[in-house]
């Protein structure tokens, strides 16, 4: 029987909060679920929980967690920082190794969580990466978030009258954005990791530039049967559903587990 998941606190002063999905006995493989950011962290909570429970039932120890300044973890939303997120991934990977006893850790992340898992792959010691619609071009993503925020303030389904530019400034879809975070994100350009990488592609439209430069470097790309619209303004409070995620991740991990 799979033990119940346990909330945990780790990192400096116990500032990071996560849920560990343990296995009965020793887990040879562990998987760290790196969450996306902003409202996507909330929208993917359920699918991450389902994935973690499903993998734990297959004997894989799983840790999901929130970065500093996100979710339940300590820190104001405005304190979000790229380097801090990478350090949090290292802490979480270490926590997963201690809790599960696993020798091999696979990094998983959706959207910006995939970008962060990729960026942290070497320092966190990931043996493999599974990235679900990772953001590979930060500047383009910043432009999309800016456009989303502008659409939000003018959206009649949210507001009877358009909201002022000042009222909506310095935010992306419900979250404050510091100048530093904006610059860090805009400067993000993905580089291939030196570990086997699988990209799960559920974007409704093909990404401009494909999955370059990861695909050219040998990353495997698998199309998910159901598409995911990450940017629909009218579904900001709706959970992301991915009925095939567990099956596809489980299949990808079979040789490792």
């Amino acid at each position: 029987m799979t033990p119940a998941s346990e909330p945990c606190q780790f990192g400096r002063d116990g500032a990071l909060i996560g849920m560990y999905h343990g296995v009965a006995g020793h887990a040879p493989v562990g998987m760290l679920l790196c969450p996306p950011l902003g409202q996507m962290l909330l929208r993917t909570h359920r699918v991450y929980r389902q994935l973690a429970s499903g993998l734990a039932a297959r004997g894989i120890g799983v840790l999901r967690f929130d970065y500093h300044g996100t979710g339940d973890s300590a820190g104001d939303s405005l304190a979000l920082d790229w380097q801090h997120c990478l350090a949090d991934i290292r802490s979480a990977a270490a926590e997963l190794r201690v809790r599960s006893g696993c020798a091999t850790v696979v990094g998983f992340g959706a959207q910006l969580g995939g970008s962060l898992a990729l960026a942290a792959a070497a320092t966190a010691g990931f043996a493999r990466l599974i990235l679900w619609d990772p953001v590979l071009d930060g500047a383009r993503h910043v432009a999309e978030l800016d456009a989303g925020q502008e659409a939000l303030r003018n959206d009649p389904q949210h507001y009877v009258r358009p909201r002022g530019v000042e009222e909506a400034a310095g935010q992306w879809l419900g979250f404050p954005v510091s100048a530093q975070w904006r610059a860090q994100l805009a400067g993000w350009r993905a580089e291939p990791a030196r570990v086997p990488t699988l990209i799960l592609d559920s974007r409704p439209e093909p990404v401009a530039g494909g999955w370059s430069p990861l695909a050219e470097a040998g990353a495997r790309v698998l199309a998910m049967p159901a598409s995911t619209d990450w940017s629909d303004l009218h579904r900001l409070e709706h959970a992301i559903l991915a009925p095939d995620l567990l099956r596809m991740v489980g299949a990808a991990l079979e040789p490792a587990a």
Partner: protein, 270 residues
């Protein structure tokens, strides 16, 4: 050390929540925040996190947690209605805050379906008040006058109306964000009973429920003077905001209201 602690708790150890435990004086109320819709305890745009931390800074112990089967919480394996489950979960949450902060009185906070859960759990011993964010409200004759009269003179509105009528044979009576409201008389009676028992309420409505509420006066039209004018009840309409307070300035307005009401009605003791 971080001032918040993550817990698994409850009668079947099936609930998960985060408690904010500032050092408090005896008698201070604990604040329990319930799930908004199906979203986990963090709340839309981290609203529950920001609110509970601000209340911790004012000296209130808090618990934001996931009700049975929501967020990270599991099922209790008990048979029973959803209402019974919500009441039992809130009892468990209150017991946790009693054990770790010494609270014996509690204020519940909920947005949308969270407000409906709070309404259900107000019958529990120890619950001294509640903050209902976009809680129950029913369309009244006054609502319909204010809603439809300006539209009578607009040809575009008439076209839209006729098109909608063609699409739907039966129009639902209430727009309730996907949940079914109990009859208005039942809610009115329950509110009156709870006020008579000494509970204190803060109703805050957002501008995002304009299809349900279009004037502050509607609250009295809906629940009558006995409830609406009760000195232990406060009602505010935060016009212009959306249902989940997406913009920071709107959240700031909301937090100001909730903090102000709590400090006035349940000041931290000591």
């Amino acid at each position: 050390m971080m001032a918040e602690r993550a817990f698994r708790f409850g009668r079947a150890r099936h609930l998960v929540g985060i408690a904010g435990l500032p050092p408090i004086a005896r008698g201070t109320v604990g604040v329990i925040v319930l799930n908004t819709g199906l979203m986990h305890r963090v709340g839309p745009f981290r609203l529950h996190v920001d609110l509970t931390r601000r209340l911790n800074a004012l000296g209130y112990p808090t618990l934001r947690f996931d009700l049975s089967t929501m967020g990270d919480s599991g099922a209790s394996a008990e048979a029973g209605s959803r209402e019974e489950q919500v009441r039992a979960d809130v009892r468990d949450a209150a017991a946790l805050l009693t054990g770790h902060a010494g609270c014996t009185r509690f204020v519940l906070v909920g947005l949308c379906r969270g407000a409906q859960s709070a309404h259900i759990a107000c019958s529990e011993a120890g619950v001294a008040g509640a903050v209902f964010l976009d809680g129950y409200i029913y369309r009244t004759f006054g609502f319909k006058l204010r809603h439809y009269l300006p539209r009578l003179l607009s040809p575009a509105r008439w076209r839209g109306f006729l098109a909608r009528k063609l699409r739907q044979v039966v129009e639902p009576e209430e727009v309730t964000f996907g949940s079914v409201y109990p009859p208005r008389a039942q809610v009115r009676g329950e509110l009156a009973d709870m006020l008579a028992r000494g509970l204190r309420f803060c109703f805050v409505y957002s501008g995002g429920i304009g299809e349900q509420l279009n004037h502050p006066r509607q609250f009295r039209e809906c629940y009558g003077r006995r409830v609406a004018d009760h000195p232990a009840l406060r009602m505010d309409l935060l016009d212009g905001t959306d249902h989940t307070y997406t913009l920071l300035c709107d959240r700031e307005r909301l937090f100001g209201h909730v903090e102000g009401w709590l400090l006035e009605q349940f000041p931290p003791t000591g």
